[in-house]
Amino acid sequence: MAKWFESHLPKIVLAPSFIAVLIFVYGFIGWTAWVSLTRSRLLPKYEIEGFIQYERLFDSPRWDTAITNLYIFGGLYIGISMVLGLILAILLDQNIRTEGAIRTIYLYPMALSMIVTGTAWKWILNPGLGVQNMVQGWGFENFTFDWLVNPDRAIYAIILAAIWQSSGFVMALFLAGLRSVDTEIIRAAQVDGIPTWRVYTAIIIPSMAPIFLSAFIVLAHLAIKSFDLVIALTGGGPGYATDLPATYMYAMAFSRGDIGQAASSAMIMMLVVFAIIVPYLYSELRVTKHD
């Protein structure tokens, strides 16, 4: 008995965590998927009715706004963060004496809560006393910078704050990538008289493809889950102009009392993440197996 126990101990130790993951991740996803196929409103119902909630979802102008915003937000946030991160990494890679200090400064926003970031930017961007007022005070009376309260511009205010928060992190990823490129090849290229910018565009950047992928995955994942920053900056407003899928889901679940809509919108978010993460995880795990 003691021997059996000892030999099975590894499995016994792992079991609680594994069971917890099975229930609280996969079981819960199953529950949400199930409920998304019912007519649940304030309370969950369990009779399957087909895709009625998804039809309601795609007919909803508010969801339409949320998805459009996700495209705008995701595209610009990921794109600009990657470009900015890469540029900063390359600039920092030129034997900068104060590199450590600069890196610390660029990266600290990542340690902040999105709610803190949102609070700070909400104050900076508020048209009454923020940047707009300040620049007008310098004599540019006609200067307007009202992104935060302008329904057509508010999503860009969120993008601005989101980039501020995570571009430093992308910089750190790329910097680590630049440092891992084989220095022999670079030196050989320099000996051959190839200009530095060519070394970057022809040798270093192409060899960092996996880092680009990682950065993209992380940013895409952050973009889809974005919730706190929107709540803190605009609360989804003006109106629902800055709703994202995450805020739509939350509004349906906790203020509108529409469980069916909450579940179906959560499932769509899940599927988007799934489409991005699964191929990535698959390739990662396959590589580790090879080692």
Binding site: V25, L91, F254, I277
Partner: protein, 297 residues
Amino acid sequence: MTDATFSPARRQSALGKTALRWGLYIILALFAVYYLLPLFVMVTTSLKSLEEIRTGDLVALPREITFDAWRTAWSEACTGIQCEGVRPYFWNSVLIAVPGVVISTLLGAVNGYVIAQWRFKGANIIFALMLFGCFIPFQVVLLPMARLLGMMGIAGTIPGLIFVHVIYGIGFTTLFFRNYYVTIPQELVKAAKVDGATFLRIFWSIFLPLSLPIIVVSIIWQFTQIWNDFLFGVSFSQAGTQPVTVALNNIVNSTTGVKEYNVDMAAAIIAALPTLLVYVVAGKYFIRGLTAGSVKG
């Protein structure tokens, strides 16, 4: 290519190089200003009086430094109907984060040890399933979790929030420890087994003493995650058990009375201080945690 221009251009290129260097430092400095400006504005605004905020410049230093806003933010500001500042919520966050971090790190260490060193059939699949759990958008578990917490009688309580953070934290902590332990040769366990050491003893006296760096990474990661969490906090708390991020949001977005920007900023800095402190003290480990999930070690 360089033959024709090499020597005459040399001096000019040295000059150009210095100019380039200067340009480089200026650009880097400008970006540093961009990243630091919001923090600077937060700190200076929190030290100004409301009068000065209304009449003054956004980026100007305070003419007269006052800590009134900090006092108000800490113990008087209103979050909805209660006016006790962020202090009680700050302690809520501590009460949630400390057990949440300790339990999830311990579980992660044991799980990682089993998966990396006691490979049994199916261990890789279990790991893949746990890893995937790290990446789900938590919206997909919010509704059933709310119901389950209700059924367990811990809805809206601090133990409820600890439970949620532990459950959705073990995927990451397991990943950290598994990737760390996988680099330790399996011969170590084999040799120890030959010597008669048991599963737990090998963990306790061989692996744990080796694990300090990854324990630090795990603690910092989990602490930052839990402290900065908003989604779980706002979904699963009630008046009195909210974490500091939720309280901060309530203070900033409360619509009653005069908008006290200086108090908002002081409250935001208070909410940010613990994770900022961790970052300043142990930034290296913070970055390791951030990149652990995305870059192969």
